[in-house]
């Protein structure tokens, strides 16, 4: 390289005359600056290994630090999963974390105040601690009907999927010890249905595979997913697959950037995927194109269901329905002569203990013996039940319901069948387009059924790739900050029937499989929480855990807030005033709080609604009349702390700290630890029994630095666990129920094996195979593709060489292959358990689904899914289309909320149906991130998509006089918003139920704050939930769309009221 530093005798003119560059266009014209140019990436003092804070792909990032400042953030090319690439958001990480939009000081709003005030951090922390102590006592519930509750219902928390695992762990630990049960985060509103759907079908509720495995697929079906926009860097694996000859199919209501590269785009009516998938299931069943050997060996197809079971039939109602309660008793769905619990979902909220005690089943653990018909002929075998159930889901019906023409549908079916079997595999990729429905869990179940029928589970290029949304939302589900589970998906105990540990374990632990060892996991968790205090004598402090009495999900809490029952609320990096359904209700709820603590980067809508929210604008609320005290505490960025994120492929990656946060910015670890410390100081010496859990809690983490930052490392070590000798545990099989082991999250056990932080491993991609097993650490036990035992036939030989993944090595006497086997390493394929074997020993050598009570993939779910053992098509809560498949229009078990501002729309055959005739769906853009807190304030992102818009077809635009680049007002019974109009061919009307149905699409990122501003789409959505996951329905609703901007002020509320009058909406509308 001819880079010379110019000397006095080297003037450009001289260089021009003396050198080769006579015209001074190159070498002679190079300035001193150009000659001395260095790249910041080369001159940095150090490179810090980190992980992108945005989505759940978890791209590895390198942070370059010079003179104590971050000078560059870019991708880490060593990473097997991201290969050094970053999407626009990841690329904007430096601006996000170092830009001017971040708040640096604590802000405080006094009750009735009109402005923010300054408050020093120490004082703020003290005030918050005081309020927790005071209001916890005020809202205490000791017992109900003789059952001990031991809980506080007056304080709640929301967030955070953007937080580290260590932070979520401390939040759950602290709040649980305080008796607080209303703990939720983004996982609830995002992929909770996935946890139910995958968990009940296969045994674990997380993605069964990794995006990198998609390169092995022969067919990739992206449905309920906008992968290229929501997960661009993971999409590289789809591109890779395509380069190798795979076919890509995208099924979606709108043509997105994901569709642009698909071989087949299938436009579909939003909310009808179960009809679509059910149609494919019907096709496979009636043409017998299933992978028969796989189905017989690895699924419950041959299992016989009990006599009491009744098909859903034309009515669409399974046996066991209680019309009054709008819920099912799943007892009649159980197997004939046996009782099996689910590995996930609704495992026990109402007392399996009663059922077991009343039944007389005998067998292992009192759970009876499963009966099977391997010929698949028995009337009540799962196979025949499924055939009957899906018989009505014909191609003609799919056309009528979904708007998918029969020839297009036939092509999709053909592709599925041709790309499954021994030699070929198909993968599903899904996102919240599937989960966010009142029947969301069933969507996932439907895909799971198909993948089991076609033999795609546990095989390379197969599986169900659940694409989650936030940097550590998998973690905040695993650890979790959720109301209904404890770390590792142990259910939160219920007030009824869970009096002691014995009851709890016998109710929820199945006799067979690894969940049978639940006692080991629970006791180890209790030891982590209460250390020395937890002994066999006091049931390991099991009584310290607060009890549930039903659903306490985020929307239940919203209603409790609206009713004035909640005094204090914590928001950890979550923005419900934009991101949750029915934002008006969210703000209404917050206005009834006594105090609110918001931790975030910038002043998000959930922090400022009292000052400038829509209700202030309309005059419905006056700032001076709102008594909610608001504390805004600026949060540290991921660059300013260390800890782990768990990404969508269950991989925990440690991110190192690059710089210190400034001024009042602190990590959530710091906040939670010190809040806990201050609360314990205030309660020290208390004689009140209620304070024992918080005072006996192990809460002595080491701290360092001038801010006394707790060591995240110490928290991760606790999560991993240790034995009585203080040695780190290496696997969850080492956990014991005798109090000798401690483990904060059993599925994460092994992440600190041998005292080495496995999550910080960074073996480059070039030095390992595609599964990337030596980069970081994945749960469980660093297995990358779950259920991979199923990639081999019952004898242990791969179904085909082309699709070999793990197989039995007779010589070595163990399972070997490209991935860590998801099976006991030395269990022979021909192993048959003794009749009364329990636990893992009861799983046969050819049962790959080791978490399931029967070791099988569940085509039929006898337990765990609240609205039926088989997915059934119902219309969304608000739909302009009649359900042509079943008489029941909507999910009979869905959860609804009665409130003036949560009204639903009339049904398609009722008066007023024509008022909201247009189907609306929502989605993401690649330039923004979820509720906008991390993108609308970031200039490089805000400028790419500055305003809220609605996408409409040219046909609808013509009909309604909508002008491209003009404005439209979109109205529902909940609210009215305005958006810029994008007239595009990418939205298409569909021929449904004999008529034309229009659809519009809205990205949901906007709110009135930040640099990119607009109305929030969630002003329109209602709270109507899936009964198993409690997730809201925002992917399919009905609206009206008119040209022009919306009214301002009180006129806006009046517009909505007028629509409601026209539609005849009352409290009784569609709540049955």
């Amino acid at each position: 390289m001819s880079r010379r530093v110019p000397t006095p005798g080297d003037y450009p003119l001289l260089r021009q005359l003396r050198g080769e560059d006579r015209l001074a266009r190159g070498a002679a014209a190079k300035s001193r600056r150009s000659a001395e140019l260095r790249a910041r990436t080369a001159t940095a003092d150090r490179t810090v290994k980190s992980v992108c804070p945005y989505c759940a792909v978890g791209c590895a990032q390198n942070i370059f630090v010079k003179d104590g400042r971050i000078v560059q953030i870019e991708g880490d090319p060593d990473a097997p999963h991201s290969r050094g690439r970053l999407c626009p958001k990841g690329s904007a990480t430096k601006q996000l974390t170092t830009g001017a939009s971040r708040e640096r000081r604590v802000l405080y709003r006094r009750p009735g105040g009109t402005e923010w005030e300054r408050l020093d951090l120490e004082t703020a922390m003290g005030m918050i601690a005081d309020r927790v102590v005071r209001d916890r006592r005020a809202g205490w519930e000791e017992e109900e009907d003789g059952d001990r509750l031991r809980r506080c219902m007056s304080i709640a928390a929301l967030g955070g999927a953007t937080l580290d695992n260590e932070e979520n762990y401390l939040i759950k630990k602290l709040l649980t010890a305080l008796g607080i049960i209303q703990i939720e985060n983004q996982a609830r509103v995002c992929h909770s249905s996935t946890v139910v759907g995958l968990g009940t079908s296969f045994g674990r509720g997380a993605s069964s595979t990794l995006p990198g495995d998609l390169q092995n697929s022969d067919l990739i079906v992206l449905e309920g997913s906008n992968m290229a926009e929501a997960h661009p860097v993971a999409y590289q694996w789809v591109v890779e697959a395509k380069a190798r000859g795979a076919t890509i199919v995208h099924v979606d209501p709108h043509f997105s950037r994901t569709s642009a590269m698909a071989d087949h785009f299938v436009p579909l009516r939003a909310g009808t995927d179960i009809a679509f998938l059910g149609g494919i299931i019907n096709h496979v069943l009636s043409t017998e194109s299933d992978f028969r050997e796989y189905v017989l060996a690895y699924t419950n197809a041959s299992t016989i269901v009990g006599e009491a079971f009744e098909d859903a039939g034309a009515a669409g109602l399974f046996s066991g329905y209680d019309e009054e309660e709008m819920s099912y008793d799943p007892q009649s769905w159980q197997y004939d002569g046996a009782f099996v619990g689910a590995a996930s979902g609704q495992r026990d909220q109402e007392g399996n203990v009663d059922r077991l005690q009343k039944s007389d089943l005998g067998g292992p653990g009192g759970r009876g013996e499963i009966k099977r018909d391997e010929t698949l002929q028995h009337r009540r075998c799962v196979w025949q039940i499924m055939k009957r159930h899906y018989a009505a889901y014909t191609p003609a019906m799919v056309e009528q319901v979904c708007g998918v023409p029969q020839d297009v549908f036939a092509e999709v079916c053909r592709l599925f069948v041709e790309n499954s079997g021994r030699e070929r595999t198909t993968a599903f990729v899904h996102g919240v387009g599937w989960t966010q429905h009142t029947i969301g869990s069933q969507y996932i179940r439907a895909a799971s059924i198909l993948q089991l029928l076609l033999g795609n589970m546990g095989r390379p290029g197969g599986g169900v790739m659940a694409m989650r949304g936030h940097a550590s939302i998998q973690g905040s589900s695993d650890i979790p900050t959720l109301f209904d589970t404890l770390p590792g998906y142990i259910p939160m105990p219920h007030a009824h029937g869970h009096d002691d540990l014995d009851d709890f374990v016998s109710a929820d632990a199945p006799a067979r499989g690894f969940w049978a060892n639940m006692r080991d996991y629970v006791v180890s968790l209790l030891k982590a929480y209460w250390g020395e205090t937890a002994t066999a004598d006091n049931d390991y402090c099991f009584g310290y855990l607060p009890r549930l009495t039903g659903s306490h999900s985020t929307y239940d809490t919203t209603m409790a807030m609206v009713e004035g029952k909640v005094k204090g609320f914590f928001l950890f990096g979550q923005n419900p005033a934009v991101g949750s359904a029915n934002t008006r209700m969210q703000r209404l709820g917050m206005s009834k709080l006594d105090w609110l603590v918001v931790r975030d980067f910038s002043l998000i809508e959930s922090a400022t609604w009292w000052q400038d929210g829509p209700e202030i604008e309309s005059g419905e609320m006056r700032t001076e009349d709102i008594d909610t005290e608001v504390f805004f505490l600026p949060a540290a960025a991921h660059t300013e702390k260390e800890g782990t994120f768990t990404n969508t492929q269950r991989m925990l990656q440690w991110h190192h700290k690059a710089v210190d946060p400034v001024e009042d910015q602190r990590s959530d670890l710091w906040f939670t630890f010190h809040l806990g410390r201050m609360i314990r100081e205030r309660l020290a010496g208390s004689e009140d029994e209620r304070d024992r859990p918080i005072l006996d809690l192990t809460w002595d983490y080491p701290t360092e630095g001038r801010h006394d930052e707790p060591l995240a490392d110490a928290v991760l070590a606790e999560i991993n666990g240790w034995n009585a000798d203080g040695e780190f545990l290496s696997a969850y099989t080492e956990l014991k129920a005798d109090g000798s082991t401690s483990c904060g999250c059993w599925i994460y056990c092994g992440c600190y094996a041998d005292g080495v932080n496995q999550t910080a491993r960074r073996t480059p991609a070039a030095e390992q195979n595609w599964t990337g097993g030596e980069w970081a650490w994945a749960w469980p036990a660093n297995r990358r593709i779950l259920y991979n035992r199923a990639s081999a036939d019952p004898s242990g030989k791969p179904w085909s060489e082309r699709k070999a993944l793990v197989w039995w090595d007779e010589e070595k006497g163990e399972w070997v292959g490209h991935d860590t086997p998801d099976f006991e390493p030395a269990k022979r394929p021909d192993y048959v358990p003794d009749k009364d074997a329990v636990g893992p020993a009861a799983i046969r050598g050819d049962e790959p689904f080791i978490m399931q009570a029967d070791g099988r993939g569940w085509l039929f779910a006898p337990a765990g899914v609240a609205d039926g053992p088989l997915p059934t098509h119902y219309e969304p809560q608000d739909s302009p289309v009649r359900n042509r498949l079943h008489e029941h229009q909507r999910d009979p078990a869905r959860e609804l909320y009665e409130h003036e501002w949560n009204r639903y729309h009339p049904g398609p055959d009722e008066p007023g149906a024509e008022v909201f005739p247009i189907v609306a769906t929502t989605y993401r853009l690649t330039e923004h991130f979820t509720a906008g807190g991390m993108s609308r304030w970031t200039p490089y992102l805000a400028e790419l998509q500055p305003e809220f818009f609605v996408e409409v077809s040219p046909e609808l635009a013509a009909e309604r006089g909508l002008e491209h680049a003009g404005w439209a007002t979109i109205v529902s019974a909940r609210g009215a918003v305005e958006a810029r109009v994008m007239v595009t061919d990418r939205m298409t009307p569909l021929r449904v139920d004999g008529r034309t149905v229009h659809q519009v699409g809205m990205p949901y990122h906007w709110g009135p704050n930040g640099l990119a501003r607009g109305d929030s789409m969630n002003e329109l959505s209602s709270m109507a939930l899936d009964p198993s996951s409690h997730i809201q329905e925002v992917k399919a609703l009905s609206v009206d769309v008119v040209a022009g901007r919306r009214p301002r002020g009180a006129a806006r509320t009046e517009l909505v009221a007028e629509y409601r009058r026209r539609a005849g909406i009352t409290a009784a509308t569609r709540v049955r």
């Binding site: 190159g26 014209a29 190079k30 999407c87 785009f265 436009p267 790419l944």
Partner: protein, 287 residues
């Protein structure tokens, strides 16, 4: 002294022509739009690395493009084109008008021409050819005269109003000096933006076009790859799936200074003739 005309037209080895005795192979971009997902990581990565100011223009509604194209504050620009036409064997399955639809996406950038008119027009020596064969505006030399702006046949160069100087893509000159790839190429999730020695890229591009033709995408073609084109071939060339005009690119760009030698020759002849004529007049007048 080298003949100015031949210096301008000297083919591939732009760096040698620019006086570098030893230099690395010519480096460039091959942007394969057939795998572009329109994510704009390239735009953001470029801005972050090069500290380019943000420029919120507002909602343009030009498909998903809310900027105005390449400019002083946008050195990578993604274009979106929605068309009622099939893309190879893809099935969009819309129920209207034949049902075909395709969405073309392309990340545009400075072409780093072999024959660079901006380089020709720059009077201060701010714009120069680097040892990598790339064309770079040196911000410490640029006086903002703006001669380069109308010179570029692609309209790439632009003045940063608040600053006064001209800015454009440098092909991350500073990163190249450390053996690192440009920020946009590094970030691109699908490897639509490929960076490397121009020779290798041209070969790879040829293979890719052939592969696409075999897969039924007959409209795939290269743009800017040919050293015989009007700018002597571009250091940053593209694989497009339709005519260049569809993407907002000039179909047949020519280095705007191409005719300068002819023009000066003509000026010389005209001046000579004028002088001769004037001399003749005065000579005659004396008699």
């Amino acid at each position: 002294m080298a003949d100015p005309a031949s210096a301008l037209t000297r083919g591939d080895d732009a760096a040698t022509a620019s006086g570098y005795e030893e230099h690395p192979p010519r480096m460039g971009f091959f942007t394969d739009t057939s795998v572009c997902i329109g994510c704009k990581a390239c735009e953001v990565a470029c801005k972050e690395w090069n500290e380019v100011p943000d420029d919120l223009v507002g909602w343009a509604g030009s498909s998903h493009d809310n900027s105005e194209g390449l400019g002083a504050n946008r050195w990578r620009h993604v274009a979106f084109v929605e068309q009622r036409a099939p893309l190879g064997t893809q099935q969009a399955n819309f129920q209207r008008d034949g049902g075909d639809f395709r969405w073309l996406m392309e990340s545009d950038v400075c072409k780093h021409c072999t024959e660079a008119a901006c380089l020709d027009a720059c009077p201060t020596g701010a714009i120069f050819r680097t040892e990598f064969g790339t064309v770079v505006v040196q911000p410490d030399i640029c006086n903002g005269c703006g001669y380069c702006v109308p010179a570029c046949p692609y309209g790439v160069l632009d003045k940063r109003e608040e600053d006064g100087r001209i800015f454009k893509c440098t092909l991350c000159y500073d990163r190249l000096g450390e053996g690192q790839e440009p920020a946009c190429a590094k970030a691109c999730p699908t490897d639509s933006i490929m960076f490397g020695p121009l020779e290798e890229l041209r070969e790879r591009a040829g293979d890719r076009v052939q592969e696409l033709h075999e897969r039924g995408m007959g409209e795939a073609r290269l743009y800017g790859e040919d050293p015989g084109d009007g700018v002597g071939g571009a250091g940053a060339f593209f694989l497009l799936l339709d005519e260049p005009e569809v993407y907002g690119l000039p179909p047949d760009p020519v280095v705007t200074t191409r005719d300068l030698p002819e023009t000066w020759k003509a000026v010389g002849i005209a001046a000579g003739a004028l002088l001769a004529g004037a001399a003749a007049c005065f000579a005659g007048a004396r008699r």
